[in-house]
């Protein structure tokens, strides 16, 4: 792999950019791998990357039924934060956030991590108490957040209207080292690094069946032939239930559509991420100048990557009051992704009833921010059989009643 650098850019500029090579290979699948990862989204690629980097396991295939990063990795609003209430969540999300800090250097790929600060508005008395509690929990967990006043909110976000009347801003939970990153680049950077380690990233390769023998995983059947493996990682977000049905067990997950939209590009006007969980809306400004807006999920199961329009309407209507400046913006694009939501709104990183098969799922509406931490923890789980970061996230916690209840703590927007 040729390294990207300022010298590479200069060298290529002098020879009409004829020397750039493909960022990752497109190999034919081999007959057998040590590890197969199903799903080449951010989480799957990060898992493969850390399997190679931390544990030296490089005979790995990452299978993707569509194109790389074409699922939720390329459909989110790119927010990165780790201000969670429960200790297990804070641990894995903070691991992820800290890995984002050096990801561009680690991968030699510019993921444009921008720690611009993330603000979660408190717009009801209930939210004030909730976020103050989270701020206290965060200081015990070693995650740097603070609860700030409405005046400080106004200083940080001059375009905000803090006076209401329906949704006054009463304070905010502020994480200064949260921010955004370029989501496609995260997938591409990991794919390039995995390919460089000798792993096979295989696109347009859909898993149609999982083969087991005596309760142990043997391999998968795909539309490009059958492939054997010793260990299998299912990291397929919204399609987790479909995959686990092939393996013959059920998971406590439901798939719903989550939508986002962007406006036409405008001049820089807001240099932080603002989340308003009471009204199900969050907004940031991209480097291109578009206002990136995320909304809420639909109430019904859905695999179509299309959501209901009235959710967009509700989100924009509510944000209009808090940000009067956006009332005359034209919206350019709107899209949806299928998110896998668990009973307690926390992910599942776990062994399964099938020996040798692992799943990493249930990130619901908040997976992007967790990509590197999730990959780090999942790789350890798959290589060693246990990881301190995944212990609490077992798929059996529901039967045991050991929930990691973030649905109350974090509200809907995750």
């Amino acid at each position: 792999m040729k390294r990207y650098s300022v010298f590479a850019v200069a060298r290529e500029a002098l020879r009409y950019h004829t020397g750039w090579e493909r960022a990752w290979r497109s190999p034919e699948p081999k007959k057998k791998y040590d590890v197969i990862i199903v799903g080449a989204g951010g989480h799957g690629l990060a898992t493969a990357y850390y399997l190679g980097k931390n544990f030296g396991i490089t005979n790995v295939a990452i299978l993707e039924k569509g194109w790389l990063g074409g699922g939720n990795t390329g459909r989110n609003t790119t927010i990165i934060r780790s201000n969670y209430l429960q200790d297990p969540s804070a641990a894995i999300y903070e691991k992820a956030r800290s890995l984002y800090e050096t990801m561009s250097q680690d991968l030699n790929y510019n993921v444009m991590f921008s720690p611009r600060g993330v603000m979660m508005l408190a717009q009801t008395q209930h939210e004030i108490r909730g976020y103050q509690r989270t701020a206290h929990a965060n200081s015990l967990q070693g995650v740097k957040t603070e609860f700030i006043t409405p005046q400080r909110v106004k200083e940080l976000v001059p375009i905000i209207n803090i006076d209401g009347p329906r949704y006054p801003v009463l304070g905010a939970l502020w994480q200064a080292r949260g921010g955004t990153a370029r989501h496609d680049a995260v997938a591409w950077g990991y794919a390039r690094a995995c390919s460089d380690m000798g792993m096979d990233v295989i696109q347009k390769c859909e898993v149609t069946a999982i083969r087991t023998e005596g309760g142990k995983v043997k391999g998968v059947d795909t539309n490009r032939g059958s492939i054997d493996c010793d260990k299998l990682g299912g990291i397929v977000a919204g399609n987790t239930s479909v995959l686990t049905e092939m393996a013959g067990f059920r998971v406590p997950i439901e798939s719903v559509a989550l939508q986002a939209l962007v406006s036409e590009p405008i001049k820089p006007c807001m240099d932080v991420v603002v989340m308003a969980n009471t009204v199900h809306g969050y907004m940031s400004q991209s480097d291109k100048g578009e206002m990136v807006i995320g909304g809420g999920t639909d109430g019904f199961n859905n695999y179509t990557q299309r959501g209901s329009f009235h959710h967009i309407e509700e989100t924009v209507r509510a944000l209009n009051e808090t940000f009067p400046i956006i009332s005359r913006l034209k919206m350019l694009r709107q899209w949806g992704g299928i998110v896998d939501v668990t009973g307690d709104r926390s992910p599942i990183l776990s062994k399964t009833p099938v020996e040798g098969m692992f799943i990493n799922a249930g990130w619901g509406t908040g997976g992007f921010k967790a990509i590197p931490g999730s990959g780090w923890a999942m790789a350890e789980l798959m290589a060693k059989g246990h990881s301190p970061l995944t212990e609490e996230f077992s798929m059996w916690r529901f039967g045991e009643g050991k929930f990691i209840d973030e649905s109350v703590a974090a509200g809907v927007a995750h």
Partner: protein, 109 residues
């Protein structure tokens, strides 16, 4: 945008008049059941890509709960039927079979 027809009052309207209520035909497991049955009742859902049965409530109308058969892959409704039943009516099952031969959903097919 989904268009639903309430089988209780007969009103046909788009989805903002209704509220989704999750999976239909859940069998309740209470005291005396095994842990696995109780966990299944509380948390395990079919979550099929394809034919699905679910509960809806006509919140901004007659207020009644009812059940619906829908394809989660195309968002097409196959039919609506009253909540006071343990099994989808035969005509809805026939309609599904015409589109998806060999379908199954829990014990129904």
């Amino acid at each position: 945008m989904l268009i639903l027809e309430c089988p209780c009052c007969g009103v046909k309207s788009e989805e903002t008049e209704f509220h989704a209520g999750g999976e239909a035909h859940l069998k309740r497991f209470g005291p005396g059941s095994t842990d696995a049955e109780f966990e299944g009742y509380l948390f395990m859902r079919e979550n099929k890509r394809g034919v699905h049965f679910e509960r809806w409530r006509h919140v901004n109308g007659c207020g009644k709960w009812f059940l619906a058969a829908r394809d989660t892959n195309t968002l097409e409704f196959f039919g609506f039927y009253p909540a006071q039943t343990h099994e989808p009516p035969q005509d809805i099952k026939d309609k599904i079979s015409a589109k998806h031969p060999g379908w199954s959903w829990r014990e129904f097919q």
